[in-house]
């Protein structure tokens, strides 16, 4: 078997390979469920019925789309610049921490409180990602550093809610007091879809697409990602691009964190309750979109179905929520393993 390069693969070929790889991934996951003694038909049936089958389910998908869209759009940009930020989980948590600190302790006038919460979230997430960008300058691989920063962020959240920020009115539990009402985000009635964050996500996904394809920064970013050597000769600083990309993607993850605490929980609580693994799932959102922030408008809801479905599997079939990791991992593996078929045709027989 050998691969013959296809020059300039068509969009149709790319789409076909992408869809095929997701189908293969879902079949592989079905096999894993069968091995675990679960009927794949029942698993997939439960997931679909409870997510797309009724209005409550759709609202649950919508709620999970919000952070995935924000983080995924940022990561799409980061991956184009070959900055493998795997720490969106930690950046989301820091965004939540900064947002909570602002909502609880800063004397911001009422009308400005919600914008301040978002700005704080952006700063928190952005700063956390900048740590990785700074470490990259001394040759620390950002995959490792952002992962370590995830674990550190979890410990920080636990420390705050069990220690200095522990609510005065809560007994036995560890979380902060409830935010003042002025910091709550409005939601679509009867759901947990905090629409200001959703609008922000849509606008930013489109904005980042514009930035990537039309701006000078976007051009520099693509050159640095596709041909670091050429970028160096053209005088483009890949370190500066990495820093800006880190700030942007971390900031977007931070916005997602601010949205979760201000829109849904109205307090800072345990890390595992703030994020259902949005940071990792968003990696697949960005990869499925093949590095196009705008395409995350399609891929984020798709992965939100899997996250919301994972919740149902936990409740209805008593499966561990970790099954979501299997979906994520298998889809990711199939996606990147299939990439060769986008740019190559397979010829059978010996060269």
């Amino acid at each position: 078997m050998r691969f013959v390069a296809v020059t300039a693969p068509s969009a149709a070929r790319t789409a076909l390979v992408t869809v095929a790889s997701v189908v293969v991934a879902l079949l592989v996951c079905a096999l894993v469920f069968a091995l675990a003694g679960q009927s794949p038909a029942e698993v997939y049936g439960t997931m679909l019925r409870g997510t797309l089958g009724d209005p409550t389910g759709l609202a649950e998908v919508g709620r999970r789309t919000i952070p995935l869209l924000l983080i995924g759009a940022g990561l799409a940009l980061a991956f184009r610049a070959q900055f493998f930020n795997i720490g969106a989980e930690g950046q989301l948590l820091l965004g939540a921490v900064f947002a909570a600190g602002t909502a609880l302790f800063l004397p911001v006038p009422g009308a400005l409180l919600v914008p301040a919460v978002f700005v704080a979230g952006f700063i928190g997430g952005g700063l956390w990602a900048l740590v990785a960008a700074a470490l990259r300058r001394v040759n620390v691989n950002e995959i490792l550093s952002t992962l370590m920063l995830n674990y550190i962020a979890v410990a920080l959240v636990t420390y705050l809610i069990a220690g200095p920020w522990k609510g005065k009115d809560v007994r036995g539990y560890i979380y902060t007091d409830t935010f003042p009402q002025g910091a709550w985000l409005p939601t679509l009635s009867g759901t947990q879809v905090h629409w200001p964050t959703l609008l922000l996500g849509v606008a930013l996904a489109l904005g980042l697409q514009w930035l990537l394809s039309r701006s000078t920064f976007g051009y520099a970013l693509r050159v640095v990602g596709e041909n670091p050597g050429a970028a160096h000769y053209a005088g483009l600083s890949s370190a500066r691009v990495a820093t800006l990309v880190a700030l942007l993607t971390g900031g977007l993850a931070g916005l997602a964190g601010a949205g979760e605490v201000a829109g849904i929980h109205h307090r800072l609580l345990e890390a595992s309750q703030i994020s259902l693994g949005y940071g990792f799932t968003a990696v697949i959102v960005a990869w499925l979109a093949r590095g196009n922030p705008a395409l995350c408008l399609i891929t984020a809801p798709l992965m939100a179905v899997i996250l919301a479905g994972g919740d149902l599997l936990k409740i209805d079939l008593n499966l561990p929520f970790r099954v979501v990791d299997i979906f994520s991992g298998v889809i990711l593996l199939c996606l990147i393993a299939s990439e060769v078929f986008v740019r190559h045709r397979v010829k059978w027989g010996r060269a």
Binding site: L135, P320, I326, L332
Partner: protein, 297 residues
């Protein structure tokens, strides 16, 4: 005083054992040019496989349990081999997917083993006032063997040449793809063995997320020790000692416990930054992370 030193050493060796085994596995595949970030996942399936076999009955063979762990680790890394060597996928992202699949699958398949007793745990050896797990002894011997094999044998040289200059190795008639696949499978087996230690000796139980980030620390350790198996012993002991301090100081001081749980990860960052500043990242095999395609460079 003596007893504290002995206790510290015993503890450091115990936590250092899975780190050392997993780190040796990562060194093996990275010296052949393949990064595998899936160590955390391979350790998880290794631990589950070992526990599943050993908890079957009071007289289940521990050798079979260890073998199952190594097979499970190798099987999972086989996916990585196909994706990255045959299909030339991005090694970093594939490894990440592997970590997700491994921890997820171990969590799903292991649910029915949670809280079950282990009839047949691996007994520690006692040397005077000192106890040591057979796994620890095996890990130390394996480090020596891997160092000897890489540096002093022809096949070890072949493996290193594939990691440093696959095109040159190819011209000399080395099967680059096969060498890399075997190195990845070997790395997976060692990560599985590290998981077996956790399930059969260290914790002698099964719990979801029992690997708890040790796999990621092992991956970082490889860079810290400059891809050298003998230095990995010192590196694993160092991090094992940090875990001991964490255990020792917890509750004995006013420092919040979260500081201790974050400590290993903060130290990994510090250590990696120091290795980077010293230029140690330059010791990496030259072709590390890059798929080999004949006729391209």
């Amino acid at each position: 005083m003596d007893s504290i030193v002995v206790e510290a050493l015993v503890r450091a060796l115990a936590v250092g054992t899975p780190l050392l085994l997993a780190c040796l596995g990562a060194i093996l595949n990275e010296r052949a040019g393949v990064v595998n970030l899936g160590v955390e996942g391979m350790m998880a399936v290794g631990a589950l496989a070992a526990f599943a076999v050993a908890s079957r009955s009071p007289d289940a063979s521990l050798w079979a349990a260890v073998g199952a762990a190594m097979l499970a680790g190798a099987a999972l890394s086989g996916l990585h081999a196909v994706a990255t060597v045959t299909l030339r996928a991005n090694q970093f992202v594939s490894g990440l997917a592997l970590a997700l699949i491994g921890t997820g699958a171990a969590g799903l398949l292991g649910k029915k083993f949670e809280g079950l007793p282990l009839f047949n745990k691996v007994q520690d050896w006692t040397l005077g006032s000192f106890t040591i797990s057979p796994f620890t002894v095996a890990a130390l011997i394996l480090a020596g063997l891997l160092a000897f094999w890489l540096n002093a044998t022809r096949s070890g040289l072949t493996l290193r040449s594939v990691g440093e200059n696959p095109a040159a190795a190819d011209v000399l008639g080395v099967n680059v793809g096969l060498t890399r696949v075997l190195a990845v499978l070997g790395g997976g087996a060692l990560a599985g063995l590290a998981g077996a230690f956790l399930a059969l000796s260290y914790r002698s139980s099964w719990a979801d997320n029992m690997v708890g980030g040790l796999g990621w620390i092992a991956v970082a350790l490889v860079i810290f020790v400059g891809w050298r198996p003998l230095r990995a012993i010192a590196g694993a002991l160092f991090f094992g000692f940090l875990y001991y301090l964490q255990f020792r100081l917890q509750g004995n001081s006013n420092v919040p416990t979260e500081v201790f749980s974050a400590m290993p990860f903060i130290l990994v960052l510090v250590v990696l930054a120091l290795a980077g500043l010293r230029g140690q990242a330059g010791d990496a095999p030259a072709a590390l992370g890059r798929p080999y395609v004949r006729g391209e460079r």
